[in-house]
Symmetry: C2
Subunit: 186 residues, 2 copies
Amino acid sequence: MTATSDDVPISARASVASDRGAPVPHAYDFSAFDSETCSIARTLTLIGDRWSLLILRDLSNGVRRFDDLVAHLGIARNVLSRRLCALAEGGLVTRAAYRLKGARERHEYRLSPAGRDLIPILLAMMAWGDRYLSAPDGPPAVARHPDCDARVRVSLVCEAGHQLGDRPRLRVEPGPGSRLRERRPR
Amino acid sequence: MTATSDDVPISARASVASDRGAPVPHAYDFSAFDSETCSIARTLTLIGDRWSLLILRDLSNGVRRFDDLVAHLGIARNVLSRRLCALAEGGLVTRAAYRLKGARERHEYRLSPAGRDLIPILLAMMAWGDRYLSAPDGPPAVARHPDCDARVRVSLVCEAGHQLGDRPRLRVEPGPGSRLRERRPR
DNA sequence: CATCTGAGTTTTTTTCCGCAACTCAGACGT
DNA sequence: ACGTCTGAGTTGCGGAAAAAAACTCAGATG
């Protein structure tokens, strides 16, 4: 996420002096910015718990009913109930009524468009797990492009059209919505 | 994550009958497979808590020392201690000794190569948060390609070279490492 | 020798999770 | 009409994990 090498120890690097005498090896002092005012932190307030992403994975794979989620995930019912409410409130999931013939009305949970937009996150996690945590017999699941049956991967591209490689060097800098921390370190 | 529409209610879809009479709208019954034997689930056992990804974000942005992390994240010290141990044990983070002139030996935490490979996950979350949770003044941070200064995005591509759009249709199917659930639903 | 600092541990309190039991409404068999 | 079944939750409780704050400890510094 940075242009400087992560392998060079702090002591060997040119640095910006921080107010605490600690060398900071970046072009700007990330720790001067509010940690919560960050899209990653904000996203994690919605899905940064042990279950939400698994629920979303199941929903996106067609497991949509309360008891099916309970059975498949092994999640406690009250926890699932709360997570689904939170996800619905966050706009990631909608509760929809449906009725099978001869049965009373039921509800199912579906991904909203915003929820579907989380799929790249799921695919990025899947790719990482495939690489580092797979059994030797191969990945437990494969995502394919329905048009051509080829496997789908997550890749990083820049808007100039360059394809970034496996271990990209990036530069992260404050954007227009950045905010400095209120209480400076003391 | 699926080739079938998420917007069509269960009752209107062609389906595979499950053993519980519930229609399953996919080509295969996802819930028949073990939920834990999944690269997403496995990855989440390492980073699926409220802090790990924020710690990794900070590490990748040059905040590497214990007290700096405590101050920046607002995390409790004992929790940070445990998370760092777990991340180190999982191979995502290494603890490295270093010594500034006139100071005693200290430790800093760095991303390992495996940890750096999580960056696409962070960027995917950042993109989602930018889109759905940003203040009107714009994203709090921007990732750029150091070579050309253009913004970096996460994109989905298939191995046949097709660029998948914003709302891709995917097909997820069991891979060679998949495992059926032991206890079938009852 | 007293003090400061970075980097944790220990202790205590609070919050959250997992489990099991319970509720509730509607369909269904008899 | 009555009991049963099922899906979809809610309630209540014990234990695990997180937050907060105090304490430790080693080495540099005045």
